[in-house]
């Protein structure tokens, strides 16, 4: 049983999805989806534990050994991401039923969980597999279900947002497919480890070069890396609130994982070091992303949209970490992947709670909520403080590592640009805090706190933000080991 964990990780939600369909609508489907997601999380945690103590797990699907069969390969990097993705799915699902009760009609609720589980299966599949083509397959599974989830949003604009994402996402996925195809032509293999062995001998060929370029652009589209981020603000702000919570904490992280995987494990290192000045491109794009998106966030009236822009900025930080490179830079990126999942889930969860009660998340509609919904509003403040990087929150740890990495690499201007970015975060967070606590509401009708399940989920996340700001052993040690393995294991 234990040896089959890598495949169970993916197959469980994949089979859970149709089962959800049979269970029908409403509560039952929700409970089942929650159960499946929780089990996935337990599996991911077990995998992480096993990998951390016993090393890489390789699992041959159907007993067909790699490179002929499909291999699932779990190392620290993807075990870490598996935990993040399944964890954020579980915590979002916990709050999902209360959240969608006002946003999605009853007859579609069962389908909602089906799409959710499919999306989860897709994301986990991308992470777990050691096969390049499999990546594409799972990417499509997760993307298609994501489009569905987004289009379930409460407004008609959600259809438009989903459609735009569909176009952009399909272009991205196609690019990735083309890249994988080129690699297959040149090497005759799809297994990642095998590719890594064979690509260096073909690295002179322009086909491999083109493959790398296609894959990079394709992933950057899914990652919403500036300037390919245009789909994200719409998608995040129009999707059902709880879907945004889940996606913000997981989907872009998976794309970042692919970026790391392809750059560090599969393609020869001279590609990203000499042929394309990738490190500099990453740093430059990251900086532009941080500033343009943060400034855009400051001017948003719709707060879900503002926080969505903030996500683009945070992705910028992660990419800067990749660009700085080395163990420390990579570690900074990996720590921020985790911490960002925590803080963004907190922020969006608080917004979801607000959306349930007042049906909107515009700045004016949130005025005076600090008194009416103190527990929910505090969630936004806590998530915001973490986002800014205040000490004793998880965000501070991210910032510390990122700045350390930049300083150690001798990139002084970068140090200040990174910190300047967090000053912008203060501005867009504080606008909301002022609206919540200092403006009085237009109407004084009482508003209830967010539903209990949402509050529980929110406060678990708040505690997570504080806990991982104080006890950092888990993310720091795992990200360190993972980064070291990646840098040293470079082909």
């Amino acid at each position: 049983m234990l040896s089959h964990l890598p495949i169970l990780q993916v197959i469980l939600p994949l089979l859970g999805a149709p089962a959800c369909l049979i269970l029908g609508r409403g509560k039952l489907a929700w409970l089942f989806a929650l159960l499946v997601s929780t089990l996935s999380f337990c599996i991911a945690a077990t995998l992480l534990y096993t990998v951390y103590h016993h090393g890489v797990i390789s699992y041959a699907l159907g007993g067909w050994q790699a490179p002929w069969g499909i291999e699932y390969r779990i190392d620290l990097l993807n075990a870490w991401l598996l935990v993040i993705v399944s964890g954020s799915s579980t915590i979002s699902l916990l709050a999902a039923q209360s959240s969608i009760s006002t946003e999605i009609t009853l007859d579609k609720q069962g389908l909602f969980y089906v799409a959710w589980l499919l999306c989860l299966a897709g994301l986990l599949g991308i992470l777990a597999t050691g096969d390049a083509f499999n990546v594409f397959v799972f990417l499509e599974i997760s993307s298609l279900s994501t489009y569905t989830l987004i289009s379930l949003g409460p407004n008609r604009q959600s259809l438009w947002a989903a459609f735009r994402y569909l176009i952009m996402g399909t272009i991205g996925a196609t690019f990735i497919l083309i890249g994988i195809g080129f690699m297959y032509i040149m090497t005759g293999t799809l297994n990642m480890a095998d590719l890594a062995e064979r690509l260096p001998s073909a690295s002179e060929s322009p086909t491999v070069f083109a493959a790398y370029a296609f894959i990079l652009v394709g992933i950057s589209l899914k990652l919403a890396l500036f300037p390919l981020h245009l789909w994200l603000p719409n998608a995040y702000s129009q999707a059902p609130s709880i879907v945004t919570t889940f996606l913000a904490a997981s989907a872009t992280k998976v794309a970042l994982y692919l970026l790391i995987r392809f750059t560090y494990t599969i393609f020869p290192s001279e590609f990203s070091q000499f042929i394309i000045p990738l490190a500099d491109i990453f740093v430059a794009l990251g900086i532009v992303a941080v500033f343009s998106a943060s400034i855009a966030a400051i001017y948003q009236e719709e707060i879900k949209r503002a926080i969505a822009y903030s996500s683009i900025a945070q992705i910028g930080y992660m990419v800067i970490g990749l660009g700085i490179g080395g163990v420390l830079g990579l570690q900074a990126a990996l720590i921020h992947v985790f911490n960002h999942a925590l803080m963004k889930a907190t922020l969006f969860m608080a917004l979801a709670g607000i959306a349930v009660r007042i049906g909107a998340t515009t700045l004016t509609s949130m005025q005076g909520l600090g008194r009416k919904m103190p527990w929910t509003s505090f969630g936004f403040v806590a998530g915001g403080l973490s986002l800014i990087g205040v000490p004793l929150t998880a965000g501070f740890i991210s910032k510390w590592y990122l700045v350390s990495a930049a300083a150690l690499a001798g990139r002084w201007p970068l140090v200040f640009l990174i910190l300047l970015g967090s000053l912008l975060a203060i501005i867009y967070i504080w606008r909301v805090v002022e609206a919540l606590y200092f403006k009085s509401a237009a109407d004084n009708s009482p508003v209830k706190e967010a539903p209990l399940t949402m509050l529980i989920a929110l406060w678990l996340l708040i505690l997570g933000n504080v806990y991982f700001g104080i006890d950092t052993r888990l993310p720091v040690s795992i990200s360190y080991e993972a980064a070291t393995a990646l840098v040293e294991g470079r082909p």
Partner: protein, 491 residues
Amino acid sequence: MDTTAMLIDVAILTPLVAVAGVLTFSRKPNLREGVSLIAGVLLLLVNLKLYASFNHGEVLSRQWLEILPGLNLSFRVDALGLLFGLVASLLWPVTTLYAIGYMRGHNEDHQTRFYACFAIAIAAVMAIAYAENVFTLFIFYEVLSLCTYPLVTHAGTEKAKKGGRVYLGILMGTSIAFFLPAIIITWLVAGTLDFQQGGIFPEQTPIALLSLLLVLFVFGVAKAAVMPFHRWLPAAMVAPTPVSALLHAVAVVKAGVFSLIKILVFIFGLETLQQIPATDYLLYLAGAGVVLASLIAMRQDNLKARLAYSTISQLGYITVGVLLAVESGIMGSAMHIATHALGKITLFFCAGAILVASHKSEISSMVGLGRSMPITMTAFFIASLSIIGLPPTAGTWSKWWLLTATLETDHLILMGVLILSSLLNIAYLLPIPLRAFFPGKQAVSGPVAIHEAPPAALIALCFTALACVVLFFFPNPLFELVSQIFSEGTP
């Protein structure tokens, strides 16, 4: 584990327990304020006990936890910390007593929030006072900024909000943009962040880097209100007077200069400091700030604004004293922390008492007030003398040492600056009580009968005014304490 060291925990936790008490009794004002008072007295006793143990030569240190590898949340009692801790814990119960009179006399709203935030601020101050390394200090420095924000914006008006924005913007902005990178660079260069006798930088550290760090630290600790990052202090004056009194004359600004002294003496070390060219520039910048702030103070008609600029000027004295980088200068600065605290808190108490009793906040309208409020105005007079540095008040001693230090280092211009500023102090402080008692030919306004402020407030301000005088005649304990700053061995 020796139990005396546990008292450090008690010192930090006592105010936090008080917070719980305050929140529990939010509906019963007498019990609520009782809790604050008792906690204040307990805290003072704890600090006195720490002082006694320290005088016995005990090394008191506590390590809480390791946040990042090599970076601990840890505390250690030293002479400077004791000085700050004692001053803050002595003035907390006094201010609470005053606040009872003021807040009730003024019918302020949200008193529970007020007392709760106040207590959190004191806990942060205790943690800053006994911090063993810059990392710990920084964390609680930020906590202090955040928990005083609700106090600044207490009134909830447009003006309060604007003040709060400036307050948080400058304090958080500088700490993230300058203080944090300075700490991280220090950590990377020196490999430690512990305060140590003689500094921690290795000898071969380039002077240019040290200069950069010094500038970053001096501007990063904006709580010390070194121009041009002083604007937050006048902005914070929208807060209720007890807040201005304890936090913006004692706790917050003193946390700033305290941090500066700690960092300059125990991170850089006096010898290193003397070699850095930036020291001289900063010295003259601080000197210019002293005079400029005094000049601006003269033009303020609002009493609290005048006191705020006076505070900026007096903080400049402390900064100058530290930057002189000689022992007498540091001792003068450390003493000035205590003497200025006593003097300025008295002045703010008086300002608040006048506001409560006569609803006057403009100096021009206070002519002749001495007849109806003789006690308040006498206290104001004594405290003014102390700020100016005239006998028989405590301020004499610290200014004496500061002037000695300028002589010792042949900074005659600075000596002139300090004397000039003291003369300006006379010009903007003394006329207030003098014209209150001797209105001359000007018409005495105030047809309605004005009485003294509530007794609780009166007791508090008499106590601090008296303390100014007592400290002039018995300066020995203070002097002995500050002379131990350099005598203790390295930890």
